[in-house]
Every structure is written in C-alpha cells, then in structure tokens.
C-alpha cells in the first residue's frame, strides 16, 4: 500500500498547470487593463454595454426555452423507450444516442442547409429547432437511464393501493426520475449558453449568443474583456451546478 498514492502526483501537477492556472488567468486578465494594471472597467463595461447585456439575456432565454422543449419532447420519449411493452430493441436506443457521437457542427450545418433548401427563413425559430435537435439526445439519455433502472414495483404498488395509473405516474415515477432530468438540464442548459458557431449557422448571424461574443472578443485581441465575459460565465456555471448539485446523482454516464 505504501506510497502508491504518489501515483496521482503527475496528474495533479498536470491539472494544476492546465486547469487551475488557466482558470486563475481568466480571473487575472478579467481584472486587468491592456497594460496589466488592476481595473474593474471590464466588468463594469459588461453591465453598462447594452449589446452585451441583451446578448446575455437572449442567451439565457434561448437556453431556458431549449431546456424546457428538450424536457417536454424528451421525457415522453425516454419513458416510452424504457418500457419493455413499447420498445424491445436496443437499436432504437442506439438511434437516439447516435447523434451524441457526431460532431455538433456537422449536424448543425446539415440542419441549416436543409432549412435553406426548404426555403425556411433562418431566425429564432430555426435556432430553437436546431438547438433542440442538437441537445435532445443529451436530455433523453440520462432520463432513459434512470427510468430503465427504476424499480417498476413502486408504481405498481401505488396502483394496487388505489391510485390511477396517471396519478401513480405523476406521484411516483416522475419524482423518482428527477435525478435524470437534472443531469439532462445540466447537459443542455450551460452548453446552450456557451455555444458559438451553432447560433451563427442557424440564424445566418442574426442572433448572437453569449459564447459568440466571447469568441469575437478573444479573436479580435480584446483578451481582457473576453476574459471578463468568461469570468461572468464561470459564475453562472458555479450557480447552476450548485443549484443542481443535490438533485442530480451521477447516474448519467455517457456510454
């Protein structure tokens, strides 16, 4: 047993250089001006700049709508897939998770091209459709996982004790499946806020999301402001993962 715990040292060192230090650098750059002096200007710039604020609001709105749509469409699908009487084949499930393994850019581009050929104007509607299309598997899979592992006798017991199947579903099955829903929310909400490229393709640059303005600032060498925007995003991640922390157990798993 002696000293094998030391085997984690190279990895810890690696992580300090490539994870901890970079995150500290975001903080440092966020509070510096171009000359390396301390300043709050980057943060105040965000809160006084109408464009940044409205982009931020639009991102949160799109992410909320996307998450909600994914739950509304994905939950029934996951439930049906988890029931043996409706679905016997493993292939159907593979068909549902396959898009998770394909480059999101490729899928988004295919969707945008299909819209263009069908003559659908690119805008908010196509953005939401494309987002749901991209993220639906990430919602279905964790819910499906929880539902298919769930002991069916709980719901049966409720029915035996006089609940209608509908009531048993809402009072027993849904509450028990919430960890899956929360891990789905985590896998859909934050990625939606932070995507770039995807919203550009789906709206023909009409709608920008938060990720896009971070990318634009970094690419036009406005590192400090880009870092400040990243810092604000980090705070939102912190808040949303704290909010879902107790609710979601690590049952998700990706394969």
């Amino acid at each position: 047993m002696k000293k094998r715990s030391n085997w984690s040292l190279p990895y810890v060192l690696f992580m300090v250089i490539f994870v901890v230090l970079p995150l500290i650098l975001i903080l440092v750059y966020a509070f510096q001006d171009g000359q390396g002096r301390f300043t709050l200007a980057n943060i105040t710039k965000f809160f006084t700049d109408k464009d940044s604020l409205s982009t931020f609001a639009v991102s949160i709105e799109v992410a909320l709508e996307n998450t909600l749509l994914c739950i509304l469409i994905g939950y029934p699908a996951a439930w049906i897939l988890s029931r043996k009487e409706y679905n016997k084949s493993a292939v159907t499930i593979v068909l549902f998770i396959m898009p998770m393994w394909i480059n999101a850019l490729m899928r988004t581009l295919a969707t945008a091209q299909l819209f263009t050929v069908l003559g659908v104007g690119l805008g908010k509607g196509t953005l939401l459709f494309g987002m749901v299309y991209d993220y639906l598997p990430f919602m279905i899979y964790p819910i499906y996982n929880v539902l298919s592992k769930m002991d069916k006798s709980y719901a049966e017991a409720a029915v035996d004790l006089g609940a209608t199947p509908w009531r048993a579903f809402w009072k027993v099955t849904v509450p028990l499946s919430m960890p899956g829903v929360w891990s789905g929310v985590l896998m859909v909400f934050m990625p939606t806020v932070s995507t770039f490229a995807i919203s550009e393709f789906l709206t023909n640059n009409k709608i920008k999301l938060f990720g896009t303005i971070i990318q634009e600032n970094i690419n036009s060498s406005m590192w400090n402001y880009g870092a400040a925007l990243s810092f604000i995003m980090l705070i939102i991640i912190g808040i949303s993962s704290l909010m879902t922390k107790d609710k979601e157990q690590a049952e998700g798993g990706l394969i």
Binding site: M15, L81, W101
Partner: protein, 271 residues
C-alpha cells in the same frame, strides 16, 4: 392503440432527427456544387474524396488526417496519464481524495469555450507557440478525466492484494504493473480510450482557441471556416455520410454485444 401512438411518437422524433443527415447522404450521390440541386446520380464525390482530387479546397484531407492524428495521440496519452492517476487517486484517502476528485471534475463541468479561452490565455501567458502541441495538450486536458472515471470502477472491483502478492513473489514494480494491474484494468482503459478518442474527434471550441495561427485545421475548424466563406466543399457530403455510417454501425455492434452479454449474465444468474 396506445402502443401504436407510443411507437408513432418515437418514430416521428427519429424521422425529424435524421432528416438532415439523410438529406446530406442523398445529395452525396450527385456532383452538384450547390446542395439541393440534383444533377443526376454519380459517385464522383466519393472517388474525389479517395483520390484527393477535389472540386473544392484540397486541404480537407489534411484536416481529416490532423483530426485523427490529434485524437489518437491525445487519447493514448490520456489513457496512460488517466490510468496512473486513477491508481493514485484510488489509494488516496479523506480530504486529499476529495480534492483530487473535485479537480478531476472541473474540466468536465466547464463548457468547451471556457476550457478553450482559459488554455488560450495560458499559452499566451507562457509564451508557448500554438500549434499541434498546444492542441494536443489541450485535448489531453479535457480527455483525461473521462479515462480516470472509466478506470476507477475497475479498481474498486479489483483485489488490492494481488499487486502486493506479485511484489512479494519477487516481481519488480514495473512487472507487477504490466503483468498484474494492466490486465485487470484493461477493459476500463479501453473504454476510457474510446471515450477520449471520440471527445477529441468531436471537439471544436477548444481546438479553435488553441490552434494558433499556423493554419492548423481539424475537421471541425475546417467546416467552420468553410461554412463562413459561403459554399461548402461538396466533398464534405460523402465524408459526412461515411462518418455517420461508421459511427452508427460501431454503436449498433457495441450495443448488441452488450445486450447479448447482459442476457447471458441474466441466464447465468437464473439457473
């Protein structure tokens, strides 16, 4: 009736989900530069792809090679680093274990763009020139946690004494590692490798921020640049079709084998 509705719902979602992919696949069999124009059946785009004799930008094949090379190297290094790390973490206790596990979770919680921007700032800060090496290091950063997570369960179910036994019986630590540990952990290492490989293939944001200005393109960044310029390289259509099919077949084979193994297990336990 209920069964019919349930099935119809599932298939409706699948049809909508796959429509764009099928659309690309159909138009991979016609020569037209513009997507949506059918100019008769032809497999020219496929042969262009194989011979490298493109209508569009020839650097597509270079991008494919880069993508595969980066994914292979990053996944392999992640597999080694992650396995050794998992053994170390497994033998840690209390607060230290919690701290390292938390550290391991950070790259998985961070959205790609944060990982990308933060690593970009790191390379700028260190004056590290950005190119293949920076992209590979960045990929190792977000891939290794998945290897650690894949290997950990194998360590939990492994008998801790057999490694000590090998040492007591005169094996060097190196021999004990390769002949005792690795065979026990092999399946976890392999699924970690596959996970890391696909994460690396799929990545766009991190590569985008860490590839520097030397003109290094992976498939994702190539598609991004190509789409921003307007017309997509027509050869992307057969390429996408091939990728869709390969992934689909691989997943079906893996899942059917797993289902078979699970059924065999069930039978074993029943009798």
């Amino acid at each position: 009736m209920r069964k019919f509705l349930a099935k119809a719902y599932i298939w409706l979602i699948l049809v909508v989900m796959y429509a764009p992919l099928v659309f690309i696949a159909i138009f991979s069999f016609t020569k037209s530069r513009v997507l949506g124009n059918w100019e008769g059946f032809s497999t020219d785009l496929y042969s262009n792809l194989i011979t490298g004799n493109m209508q569009g930008n020839a650097s597509l094949m270079a991008a494919v090679k880069n993508t595969l090379l980066i994914a292979l190297v990053a996944a392999f290094v992640s597999m080694l680093l992650g396995t050794i790390a998992a053994i170390g973490i497994h033998n840690l206790h209390g607060k230290k274990k919690k701290a390292v596990t938390f550290l391991n979770n950070v790259p998985m919680i961070n959205p790609d763009i944060i990982t990308g921007v933060s690593l970009f700032l790191l390379f700028v800060f260190l004056g590290f020139s950005q190119g293949y090496l920076s992209v590979i290091l960045a990929h190792i950063t977000f891939c290794t946690p998945y290897v650690v997570l894949s290997v950990m369960p194998k360590l939990h179910s492994m008998n801790p004494n057999i490694y000590e036994a090998a040492l007591d019986l005169g094996a060097t630590p190196g021999q004990a590692f390769w002949k005792v540990m690795v065979p026990e952990l092999k399946s976890g290492m392999l699924s970690g490798f596959i996970l890391a490989f696909t994460m690396s293939l799929d990545d766009f944001a991190v590569t985008f921020f860490t590839r520097g200005t030397i003109g290094l393109d992976t498939l994702s960044t190539y598609i991004y640049t190509d789409a921003r310029k307007g017309g997509l390289t027509p050869e992307l259509r057969p390429l996408m079709t091939i990728i869709f099919l390969v992934v689909l077949i691989l997943l079906i084979v893996i899942n059917l084998r797993q289902a078979k193994a699970a059924r065999a297990m069930e039978k074993k336990f029943k009798y």
